[in-house]
């Protein structure tokens, strides 16, 4: 964290008075350094957030010209919580995030173990495996729309191994699995690079000791690697979860929430409420409900990370 132990402003040899004078002399410069960034963020994030909060207590439809926001108290919250589509979106988001993150952690861990040993070509392999994560999400969505097309490559491959074709964008369940598949494809590399770095940072002594004791590969993994990686796995999973619940781009391009509301997520719900139905109050209330959960989660993450950096060698 930023609370650094580097105490530049306190050289041990200088007398206290001079030290203080120097610190004071730098104070205006530091204030000037800090101010633009803080002001910019206050205007672009804090102000809009408070604006959302204010709007969430009002009813206001942007497509009715000449109307002003009308105070409705908690009305918008009640309406939003009562909205079946909102509930479906919230549930979808949680299922989507949980499922994709679990899959990404499993696959990412397996891959990280496979590429963690140095060897010919491994470097190239690692670079290639990063590609999906860097690709523009909208492009990934379009690409998978083509791949999952009725007569597309994936269905062809399914048929080639004797499985039936799947109508990915017609059947609600397959549509949901489809958007999950795309997320797993794009973000498993993230888990992979974090875990590869974490494995590289593990101390070598326990592994040497285990080898001398004749431990099997499975035992080494189960009783050494896995417990030592546990804190990193937790933090990585939480970070991925935070991003997964925000999913928007690929949904917009792949299914636009359909068929029906099968793949509607919180982000796409709020977007549609605000910018398609122009229901500003409803969108704002949904935003704050969403936000409350996210802030709670980020506090958990910050704590988990503090613990991870204390207990593990990462």
């Amino acid at each position: 964290m930023a609370t650094s132990t580097t105490t530049l402003a306190a050289p041990t040899t200088a007398p206290v008075v001079r030290r203080r004078r120097r610190r004071l002399r730098d104070a205006p410069t530091f204030a000037l350094f800090l101010l633009p960034a803080v002001a910019f963020l206050a205007l672009t994030s804090v102000y809009p957030l408070l604006y959302t909060l204010r709007l969430s207590f009002h009813e206001w439809f942007l497509n009715r010209p000449g109307t002003a926001p009308a105070w409705v108290g908690l009305g918008s919250y009640q309406a939003t919580i009562g909205d079946q589509v909102f509930r479906t979106s919230a549930l979808n988001t949680v299922v989507f995030a949980t499922g994709t993150v679990a899959a990404e952690l499993l696959l990412g861990l397996a891959l990280a173990l496979a590429v963690s040993r140095e060897g010919a070509g491994i470097r190239v392999v690692r670079s290639v495996l990063l590609v999906p994560m860097i690709m523009t999400p909208v492009v990934v969505g379009v690409l998978w729309r083509i791949l999952l097309f009725d007569d597309g490559l994936i269905n062809y491959l399914l048929q080639a191994v004797g499985l039936p074709r799947i109508l990915w964008f017609v059947d609600p369940r397959w549509a949901f699995l489809g958007v999950m598949l795309v997320d797993v494809w794009q973000w498993t590399p993230f888990v992979l690079i974090v875990l590869t770095a974490a494995i590289a940072a593990l101390p070598s002594e326990p592994f040497r000791a285990a080898q001398i004791d004749g431990a099997s590969r499975w035992q080494v993994f189960r009783y050494l690697t896995l417990p030592m990686l546990a804190p990193v796995l937790l933090v990585t999973g939480l970070l991925r979860f935070m991003d997964a619940i925000k999913v928007f781009d690929t949904i917009y391009v792949l299914t636009n929430g359909g068929p029906g509301y099968a793949t509607e997520m919180l982000s796409s719900y709020i977007y549609k409420q605000g910018l398609r139905y122009f229901n500003v109050g409803g969108a704002a209330a949904a935003s704050w409900l969403f936000l409350a959960v996210v802030v709670a989660l980020s506090v958990v993450i910050v704590k988990a990370r503090a613990r991870a950096s204390r207990t593990a060698a990462v």
């Binding site: 650094s4 050289p11 800090l34 803080v38 963020l41 993230f190 590289a200 990585t236 391009v253 802030v295």
Partner: protein, 297 residues
């Protein structure tokens, strides 16, 4: 810092090499089998993106799909560029990305230097850093509606300025968070000497800290640029026709034009290629940049 690309061999794994043992052979098979599957899973879709952009309609809509075609064509690219003002949209993406990155890196590194070096009153160092982290983590959609209203009232809808300001705001916390880490690694002794010689904070920052932090600054800038280049939600919300960036144009193909896959994938290649090249250049900083320091290298 240990880069992703320089992972030392685990001693336990290295000395376990017993070629005669059955388990070693099957382990090797399992390991390389996993790697091969993963490579296929990444490369086949990517190949599909690139190859479709060079196919004719009869080939890309063929059932069964055709992997390699003899009559490949540049028609997809030609139509894409001639029917759309693609140069303009490409320029939008470039201008918005460069301007927002420059702004975010400048403002962000000044703030990061202060947070790394100055001891602020009221425990502000920790509080501000935590605020930056929260700003980075909350869902952008939560500010989307008022943001749209503010930009509309300022008459900035469908201008590059709207996106430049937005992406600067997105990237500022990211830059601050990353650069705090890098600046803390600069040995304090270097600055202490300069301080005794009477250098103020501005001189120490520009003459000592910045030159040393060059590579870190470049890496941070590239990572911010990638985020800005790929952004879609605010781009689609704040632009209509003039200020559209490449992802918005891409999404537009989905809604209006059905199955123009050659043009869609051609645009995909044009959009993705610059990012891939830059990202590979800063690969070793990716972990740090994308985890916001979840893993200390």
């Amino acid at each position: 810092m240990a880069a992703v690309s320089s992972v030392p061999a685990r001693p336990a794994a290295r000395s376990r090499r017993r070629p005669s043992s059955v388990s070693a052979v099957s382990w090797g098979l399992l390991r390389w089998g996993t790697i091969a599957l993963a490579l296929l899973a990444v490369l086949v879709p990517f190949f599909w993106l690139v190859s479709t952009s060079f196919k004719r309609e009869v080939d890309y809509l063929a059932d069964p799909p055709r992997f390699l075609v003899e009559n490949w064509t540049l028609a997809g690219y030609e139509t894409l560029f001639s029917r759309n003002d693609l140069g303009h949209f490409f320029l939008n993406s470039v201008v918005v990305t460069l301007a927002s990155t420059a702004l975010a890196v400048t403002l962000g590194s000044l703030a990061a230097y202060t947070l790394a070096r100055a001891r602020l009153p009221f425990k502000l160092n920790g509080a501000l850093a935590f605020w930056m982290l929260l700003t980075r983590m909350y869902p952008a959609i939560a500010t989307a509606i008022p943001y749209f209203l503010i930009i509309r009232d300022l008459q900035l809808l469908d201008t590059r300025w709207a996106l430049i300001v937005t992406y600067t705001a997105f990237n500022l916390p990211f830059v601050v968070w990353l650069m705090i880490g890098f600046f803390e690694e600069v040995p304090a002794e270097l600055e202490r000497a300069a301080m005794i010689d009477g250098c103020g904070a501005w001189q120490r920052f520009t003459r000592i800290v910045l030159p040393i932090s060059g590579p870190a600054l470049v890496a941070t800038a590239i990572l911010s640029a990638i985020l800005a280049w790929n952004e879609f939600l605010f781009a689609v919300m704040l632009t209509r026709t003039e200020a559209k960036t490449l992802p918005v144009v891409m999404a537009g193909f989905i809604t209006d034009k059905g199955m123009l896959w050659d043009q869609m994938t051609a645009l995909g290649v044009v959009t993705v290629l610059p990012v891939l090249l830059f990202a590979l250049a800063v690969q070793r900083y990716l972990v740090r940049g994308l985890t916001l320091g979840a893993v200390k290298e």
